[in-house]
Amino acid sequence: MEGRVWEISGAVQGVGFRPWVYRVARGLGLRGCVRNTPTGVRVEAIGSEAALARMGEELRNGGTPAGRVRRLRERAMEPAEVWFFTNESKKDGFWIGESEGAGGGVEDMPQIAPDLAMCRECLAEIRDRGSRRWKYPFTTCAYCGPRYTIFEGLPFDRERTVMREFPLCAECEAEYRDAWDRRFHAQAIACPRCGPWLRLLDARGRELTVREEALEVAGRVLREGAIVAVLGVGGFHLMVRADGREGVLRLRRRKRREWKPFAMVCREVGELGGAVRVSKEEMALLRSPAAPIVLLERTGRGPEFSGVADGVSCLGVMLASNPLQWLLLEEVGVPLVATSGNVSEMPICYEVEEGLARLGDVADFFLVHNRRVVRRCDDSVVRVVAGEGRLVRRGRGYVPLPLELSGLRGLADGVEYIGVGGHQKNCVCLLSRGELLLGAHLGDLGTERAREEWRRDVEWLKGYSREARKVYVCDWNKDYGSTIELERMAVEVEAVQHHAAHGFAALAEAGWEEALAVVWDGTGLGVDGEIWGGEFLEVDWRGQWRRVGHLGRFVLPGGERAAREPVRSAAGVLASLVKGGVVELGEIRWLWGLRAEWRRLETFLRLAGDEGEGCVRTTSAGRLFDAVAWMVGLVEGEVSEAQAAMVLEGSAWGYLRRVGSEPSAIRQLLVREVEEIGVAVRMREEGENLIVEWEEVVAGVIREMLGAKGDRKAELERAAWRWHVGIARAVEAVVRRVGSGRVILTGGCFQNRLLGEMVVELLGAMGVEIFLPRELPCNDGGLSAGQAIGAAMRRGRQGGKNFSGDKMEQGN
């Protein structure tokens, strides 16, 4: 008799791993046991040499649908251990042992599974009248259900989750004990008899009804057009029929969210009536265990879903990811709007009390339950760009799986890094021994409620810490909420420049040693005190970076307000054009003199022209898009963040649809357009920097508008399309001049699918290798990762030396 011990780390808890091991071991006739440890799972077995070898092989290949083995260590048993298992009198021979608590040297980062979307078997059960879980909204098994949002301690066992409040009934207990049941040792299982139940409350928190009836009544009022706040897996969703404009607008009014697109939830994509196009990749994402919101391109046909996402080219859609959503949809019969249950940029509410307090004025009813949500987790958002899914927001289904980025190999230097993120779209992360653990999307840090969550997330990360020395990494901008909070903490702090951080994140994900990073976003503080945002940076795996080029500067009157008021960007851009003699004031007046905002444009033109008080200089690509969106008349007055750029993209897609091209035909159109326009964008040199002179591209748009006649909408769409072509060619021009073989496209602007795919086409034709981030959002959601990675590379690969270009960082 021989024995072996396997230590397995990875996503192996809460995914039915032990039951699977149990079944395999029993099948092989092994004796021994499997148990959860603080870092994963340990398998101890005795038996024949052949059976043990087979077991090892299974473990190496194996796992369960949602599990992921990261590392497997194998050793032979000591004779005493073999003796123990030989003489152990358990009748089963192989059993699932008590979990091992914390303590001892922690080698690997403990991993628990993210919240997993309902599996097919569970769906079949809740639809089956004969099943005891018919219509039961908390149905889960070893392969699906909440994990991250219900655990309070590790290892992941029922007594350390909120489910400990629901002792199993005899039937559930039997399933839990039955090795051949898919609920064998599944921690979150429940049934109508022993598990959590629903409550329907009115807006003031008074209980109207409970359990099944709560579901039915909630479904009925939703069908009739009410707004219902539904407590899901990671917090509240505000729901309303997606096909009723009046209801959707009521939700907008009450949530004070005038424009920002809402996401929708449905059971099958077919319910959208052909309004969106779904590619193979997109379908796979929709149906994945993470079940994120996928941004799907509209077809221009089918239902309009008016008010849900007006003016943008895509709809955010997710498939019902938990039984409650599915059952509600079945009651309602039409797709629902499902937007995060928060008010004006605050974090999502995830406790019943807070929900009632904050959303009481928004929702007519509250559908809540008593399976507590331990921590917030927004829905993830993914967009397929250039054929692959790219995370726009990292949340449910992805958090808290650590990432192992190939570019981080060998970065275990005894120091851990906590990236504290930016001010908006904040999320925090821990980089430890080459593994990156990202917290869930948090959002804007303007409120104390968000800061509280931020501090909580940082504490949570520290729970995964394995080294004594931790370095906190922030942005250079001292006025970011994250930087300010850090200052209060009396910890070791380093700073990484905003756009460099974006570049490092993508570099590590690509696994490259160096690249030209095209980092285009709204705003970030640059080395020179100006506001950067249209950057070309050379980044390398030592954490060094150098600015090699940028978009030409312009002036933003009123600074940050420009992000919400495109007329300011337009004025700044036009002031540059006037100064350069590209456009005359008369033309500006002729084009826009009748616009409602003409007076404001004039005022801001004057302010920007004088570059006086309240003006900041910027190279922001995002604001340039805003300016163009204003010029072609797509936006006016106050807008949401990124709205202008999104409708500009939407308009350009409109052109594509008009000329009848599938997105795949971008290439041909682009080639034709490039031939037609001729010269690429001009550049000039300023010291070591290439300055992209975008003035001609904007002037092209203006000329298009001056010459516009006939179908105005078509003309605008064509102008929007041309803008995209022109500015994509700016990237091409710089890459050509710098002569880079590897190019990274990142920063929030590259959420713009059209821009991304155009640049990929143009650069691809030059034989350049291109990388767009997949796992780490290209927007500020990926900033914390880039901060941690940048600092780690700098220390780990330069022996602690700061890169000489980072003068400000030494002073920080």
């Binding site: 004070r256 008010v343 004006s344 940029e345 605050m346 904050r358 004025d361 930016g422 001010h423 908006q424 840090l445 303007g446 409120t447 104390e448 409620r449 800061r451 901008n477 001292k478 006025d479 970011y480 909420g481 300010i484 209060r488 705003t523 503080l525 005190g529 506001i531 009157p557 009123g558 600074g559 940050e560 307000r561 420009a562 005022t603 004057r606 302010l607 004088d610 006086g612 008080e613 309240g614 900041v616």
Partner: protein, 317 residues
């Protein structure tokens, strides 16, 4: 500033952080304060560098509960400065001193070569007599106490701006709020209201004072932002420039913390003065949110008022 203090001044003088202040008791009930003024432009609607110097120095005294008594002024003049200018400023100093009830008892004048200073610099030192048994101090704040603002904010900053940038000439009607605060403090004391803490909202504005108080006291401050008065022209300019009125400098406004039972009376007293007609309760000290300032907005939202670096204006996130 903090770095200068901790890195250079404190070690050189051999004193601790707590021993230096805007106004400090020097024994026998006497309090000393000093303040230098290098404002450009020298004149602005509602005042000039002279009014600023006198009021600023007297207000530092008033804010610890000392009645301003004597002033000493040091004038640094640029060669070639117009006598008319100097006379006007000197007259302003005289008027402001009278309004504050102080006597100018000492002075010094230096002339520097052309280009070595921006027309005129004025440095003032003031001596006042303590009128309170306990110094007003943010460390005395306790949960439940109420916060009062003595008037509308932002006027001084906008008045200066209207002169500095010709694009804002149209707001010439906005006059600086520059004034002496002792009168109002005296009124409060005479009515038996005990000011727990007082601070004038100069550099960094109201938000910065509140942020400092939160840090110094360790308690949270909850502000109802819609209660903070801002006159329309100031709002208008802020909107255009992307400035936040909560962070704009004032020269004649202060925040006052009082016990719950004193609040109505205190507001009433402040409002009886011309400079205090817009006085409002703006919030209270809270047990929660230790060390932070939360400004509640209408519709259940809020924002944190951070102490900003001031490096980038307007703030950019």
């Amino acid at each position: 500033m903090q770095r200068l203090l901790e890195g250079i001044f404190l070690p050189a003088f051999g004193v601790g952080m707590g021993e230096l202040g805007d106004a400090v008791a020097v024994g026998g009930g006497w309090v000393l304060s000093t303040d230098a003024h290098v404002v450009s432009p020298l004149f602005f609607p509602g005042g000039d560098i002279g009014t600023l110097a006198v009021n600023g120095t007297c207000n530092d005294l008033a804010m610890v509960g000392a009645e301003p008594k004597f002033l000493a002024l040091t004038w640094i003049l640029e060669e070639g400065l117009d006598f008319g200018v100097l006379r006007r400023i000197a007259e302003s100093v005289g008027k402001a001193a009278e309004a504050n009830g102080v006597r100018v008892i000492a002075g010094d004048t230096k002339v520097v070569p052309r280009g070595k200073c921006d027309g005129l610099y004025l440095s003032a030192a003031g001596i006042g007599m303590m009128q309170m048994a306990v110094l007003a101090d943010a460390k005395r704040l306790e949960p439940g106490m109420e916060l009062i603002l003595s008037g509308d904010v932002g006027r001084h900053a906008i008045a200066v701006l209207s002169v500095r940038d010709s694009n804002f000439g149209f707001v010439g009607g906005v006059e600086s709020d520059c004034c002496g605060l002792w009168k109002m403090v005296k009124g409060l004391l005479e009515a038996g209201v005990e000011p727990i803490a007082m601070r004038d909202c100069t550099r960094g504005g109201l938000a910065t004072v509140l942020a400092e108080w939160a840090e110094e006291s360790g308690f949270g401050l909850e502000i109802e932002e819609w209660m903070v008065p801002v006159i329309e022209p100031v709002k208008g300019v802020c909107e255009l420039m992307g400035y936040d009125p909560m962070y704009l400098a004032c020269e004649g406004r202060f925040v006052l913390a009082v016990k719950r039972e004193d609040v109505e009376r205190a507001v009433e007293i402040l409002r009886s003065y011309e400079e205090g007609v817009f006085a409002e309760r703006i919030g209270k000290v809270s047990k929660k949110m230790g060390g932070r300032v939360v400004a509640r907005q209408r519709y259940g939202t809020e924002r944190v008022l951070d102490r900003l670096s001031g490096e980038i204006l307007p703030r950019i996130c």
